[in-house]
């Protein structure tokens, strides 16, 4: 399961570019700081953890069930 800590995300989108399966996408969802946070399409995720490694702010968490 992928969770995004909305108050930690700064909207750089490195996770979106790094994802090889395009499971993360830009959205119109805005957090308390006015930053567009990405949305997750769970079914596309192959649990490679590259988005976690590419996030500079520890905002993404991937858990393997």
């Amino acid at each position: 399961m992928i969770t995004i800590k909305e108050n930690y995300c700064k909207g750089c989108g490195y996770c979106i570019i790094a994802c090889p399966t395009k499971a993360l996408k830009r959205s119109n969802k805005i957090n308390s700081r006015g930053i567009e946070i990405p949305i997750v399409e769970e079914e596309k995720c192959n649990k490679c953890h590259i988005c976690e490694l590419s996030c500079p702010d520890f905002a993404i968490n991937v858990e393997e069930e």
Partner: protein, 268 residues
Amino acid sequence: MISNDEIYEKYIRKGTMPTILCAGCGNGIVLNTTLRAIDELKKDIDKMVFVSGIGCSSRLSSYIKADGLHTTHGRPIAFATGIKAANPDLDIVVFTGDGDCAGIGGNHLIHGIRRNIDITVIVLNNYNYGMTGGQASPTTPLESLTTTTPYDSFEHPFDLSMLAMAAGAPFVARWTISHPVQLVKSIKKGLQVKGFSFIEVLTPCPTSYWRRNRIRDYEGIYRWYKENTVNVKRAESEPDKICIGELQNIQKKEWTEQWKELVERVSK
């Protein structure tokens, strides 16, 4: 693989988060990859010291729930040498920037390498003095624009990894923020090497450097680091690109070992 939440719970000082770093700054990725390397090696964080100088890169030591030193500008390698000499059981990681390491602390860097003391130096090279407003640093590439080079930079930049190789560092690696998996592996190796290990990471500074150098979106910045670098194995075919990978791995006698031998020899 360990998840970000576990890393966060285990190693991060919670009061300091979220980081003060700008959106798109790569320093957080280096913090993340360093902590992952430490976790994969199962190192005791209480037996480690994180030393840093001055600059954006040097904020990293204060985010880690371990002993750390935030030292004067350009001197983290000097302080780290002192810690290692006083207590060789500790593992020292130095976070330093390009201005900190090559500009103000250039002499400390080459003499740290010459002594070959067992510390791991992670240089976050963002091509400018980001914290003070984007002045040209010793690594600013030719023909790029900064606050102090408004027309273009005509000074030849330092290639820090080549400098470390020439000075004789036992382990030298260079990666970018677009290669986080490889970076974890290199930091792991660097921590295991007995001797001075030098790891250069090319990190973007979107606020001060890339804003003035025509790439103004995060995607473009991330792709620039992918497209303008080439692995050392294929470097001959593409000589114009920045050479990344594990550049040097040699055996050399380490300073604290030699010190112990000297003490034993003299005290007989």
